[in-house]
């Protein structure tokens, strides 16, 4: 089984190539540079190094979000269009789940997160079980403070992994004290090889045409429109 994995959901640009079930190459940068400009060159370079052509691929794997809206869309558009053009499946993996893989030898719970502004984070809860890092609370957007309080109530050790750690580490330590564990800086970045492994082992069942990013959150204009409409409906009912 051969696969190509793509991640552009954060500042990391990640590409990995799987050949006969082995991750044979990874390309990864952590630069504030344009993904749209650099993604295809990275794919081509890595595929050439692996001596593979697109037609040899059996599946395309992509980090589906959450993350930067534009970033996730670049990866998903590239992945689904390639998959459709090559008539092979596209496989989406949660961007948070990729990060959570660093906790595979950790006995507590794992909380990968991305900053979502205005005191919020995109996060989910994961735990190692039967040799796999499993999701135990779904990916969501939540006020960081509310999330940390809920984690405190668990009374367990929590491993935090995030590319936005500098902004949040202090708050985490304030709430969780010694229960909070932090990894090395390299463990705060989504590694394309981890994405590739997850994607190779995942079932393929999605319709490529319908494949879309998992933004977690509605577009702001849409959320406001819905809120306004709900207000109107209440008024109409005389509530």
């Amino acid at each position: 089984m051969n696969g190509l994995a793509i991640d552009t959901s954060t500042y990391v640009l990640g590409v990995a190539v799987v050949k006969d079930g082995e991750v044979v190459g990874e390309f990864m940068t952590n630069l504030k540079k344009n993904h749209s400009l650099r993604l295809m060159s990275a794919i081509r370079t890595l595929m050439e190094e692996a001596e593979m052509t697109p037609k040899q691929l059996d599946r395309i794997i992509v980090a589906q979000g959450p993350g930067s809206y534009t970033g996730v869309r670049i990866g998903v558009t590239t992945a689904k269009t390639m998959a459709w053009a090559l008539q092979i499946p596209v496989v989406g993996v949660s961007s948070l789940k990729i990060l959570a893989q660093y906790g595979r030898y950790f006995t507590g719970v794992i909380s990968p997160f991305f900053d979502a502004r205005r005191g919020q984070v995109y996060t989910g809860l994961y735990r190692m079980s039967n040799g796999l890092v499993e999701n135990i609370r779904p990916d969501q957007i939540i006020l960081h403070h509310d999330w940390l309080s809920a984690l405190k109530d668990l009374g367990e050790q929590v491993l935090f992994v995030s590319p936005d750690m500098t902004k949040h580490q202090e708050t985490i330590e304030e709430v969780l004290g010694k229960k909070a564990i932090f990894g090395q800086k390299t463990e705060n970045l989504l590694r394309p090889g981890e994405l590739a492994l997850l994607g190779m082992n995942q079932d393929v069942s999605v319709n490529t045409h319908e494949f879309a990013p998992n933004y977690i959150r509605l577009a702001e204009a849409e959320a406001k429109w819905l809120a306004a409409r709900q207000g109107e409906q209440k008024e109409n009912k005389g509530e």
């Binding site: 749209s36 590239t78 390639m82 459709w84």
Partner: protein, 340 residues
Amino acid sequence: MSNGMEKDIVILGIETSCDETSAAVVRNGREVLSNVVSSQIESHKRFGGVVPEIASRHHVEQITYILEEALSNAAVTFQDIDAVAVTEGPGLVGALLIGVNAAKALAYAHDIPLVGVHHIAGHIYANHLVEELTFPLLTLVVSGGHTELVYMEGHGSFEVIGETRDDAVGEAYDKVARTLGLPYPGGPHIDRLAHEGEATIELPRAWLGPESYDFSFSGLKSAVINTLHNAKQRGEELLPENVAASFQESVIEVLVGKTMRAAEEKQVQRVLLAGGVAANKGLRRALKEACDKKGLSLTIPTLEYCTDNAAMIASAGTILYQSGRRSGDRLNGQPGLLLK
């Protein structure tokens, strides 16, 4: 071509610069084998205008459906495609990125050359689908984002001799329409009302000096808003039909006036109308009359090729492809791309 000597050139076009997701297959730059357009207008109506983030989300959900339909309607496969042409700019950056990245993915997957196309070049070449272009020519480009006069000496050579200094003409239409309480998009409503009313209200014409080919519509837009406001203060009722007719008359007089002056100075025999506002009946008629009077031939795209579509991108892309233009893996969406 049909002389049996030259090989056909088949181009797959992709356009996602604003709120239409479109893919098309065009043979030899003029023969449209398919042109699939998915408009998001119904979705954006509730916001009173195009919301960039919503547009990007729709594009990514639609893109492969549209591509598949374009290939299947044209009854071609990737083996038949000589190049993929895609709008690289200008437009909404997030929207452009969907088309550009999809195009790069296709080009890589099937080892097909890639050609980036300027959106306005596409609008101009919408005319090539109707009638083979002859040079030199002058194009009046009018849309929600653009008001430009473009002079062309030959295929693929674009000289912008005039452009808007503030609002694009389509923008001015939408704003005036909103003031009149008309739904988005307002352009067609104004055009319709204008035909039912009379230009009874005096409004300014922004000529911007005798030499200038530039345009300005924000002053006119403000004048309309002020006129409505003052009338309301005096307790007078202005007929929306007359407001629309007066506004449209001012716009058309300036657009047609500058186009004819430029046509004379540049000594062209051919004038083109391009862009979404080219659907405006008042403008089409006025420009036709002015061109007839001067003995100039005028081409206007059919309605389906006035608004954003990928056939026009494929047509312009064919010319660029034939001239040797190739875009690489680093092709990117460029919201402020200049026409050169």
